[in-house]
Symmetry: C2
Subunit: 144 residues, 2 copies
Amino acid sequence: MSHLGHATMEEMEERCAKAGLKLTEPRRLVLQILVESEDHPSVEMVYERARIKDPKVAMATVYRTLNLFHEFGIVTRIDLKESFARYELNWGHHHHLIDVETGEVHEFQNDKIEKLKSQIAAEMGYDLVECVLELYGRKRHAVA
Amino acid sequence: MSHLGHATMEEMEERCAKAGLKLTEPRRLVLQILVESEDHPSVEMVYERARIKDPKVAMATVYRTLNLFHEFGIVTRIDLKESFARYELNWGHHHHLIDVETGEVHEFQNDKIEKLKSQIAAEMGYDLVECVLELYGRKRHAVA
DNA sequence: CTATTTGCAAACAGTTTGCAATGCA
DNA sequence: TGCATTGCAAACTGTTTGCAAATAG
């Protein structure tokens, strides 16, 4: 399993409400898709999945909604070495390990690296605001 | 200063030769630009700088050359939270700290974090192949 | 001399935007 | 009613590609 934890629809709706976001039908739909998704879908994928539930949603709306959610910290944008962006709920800080052979994306968390990151920033005279950390790896084969 | 070290034109030409790359005039030009650059130029910037020395180079050639160099490990592609890519010579492993206020890009190196990265990958059953690590920070103001 | 590389312009992919119609407080 | 949001299509940006001419070994 690639997810460290789960947010519920109720929790996410609550966060939108707190952010003062009007939860219209298409927005709730996009949120729902992300809550249900076990993977890290591209905009296209979110659109496809949304269309199944409501064939009249527009791609542009999906883009606008994801941008809006991102702006309000509801959602996290993932930029891997790809030509498109992926999104996930902003829920529980973690980073990604990408299997270079299969493209699978795994999540991980590590306190030591979190401390080290802030420490490095501090040494350079900065307060850490944000961070991108992606590991690209090849599955280690069991040795006979 | 944002650079940890410098490669010379000779060293880079040598590496191209070893990679079996034909060093044509436009290619040498792009290489030259990168050797001279103290910053992390976008393709557009490389193109502009190249054009000063040779007004007849085409944007497409700059793209093709950078892709080629990237493919052969001569150059590193930097994907910050921007809509375009930046490039730098693949010379001395390091990561980037981006000043969120000014956009300045600083380089850093840290052995502890290198070890930790491989260790995390290993714990997840992977051999680390590559890694993206970007710190985004705000300059810490001196306290009175 | 032959294969590679270039410059140009057109194509392309992902994303954003203008606008009239719709929906919601 | 009035303002925000949607769907659609067109625009836009960064990047890639087809092709004929130029170049390199």
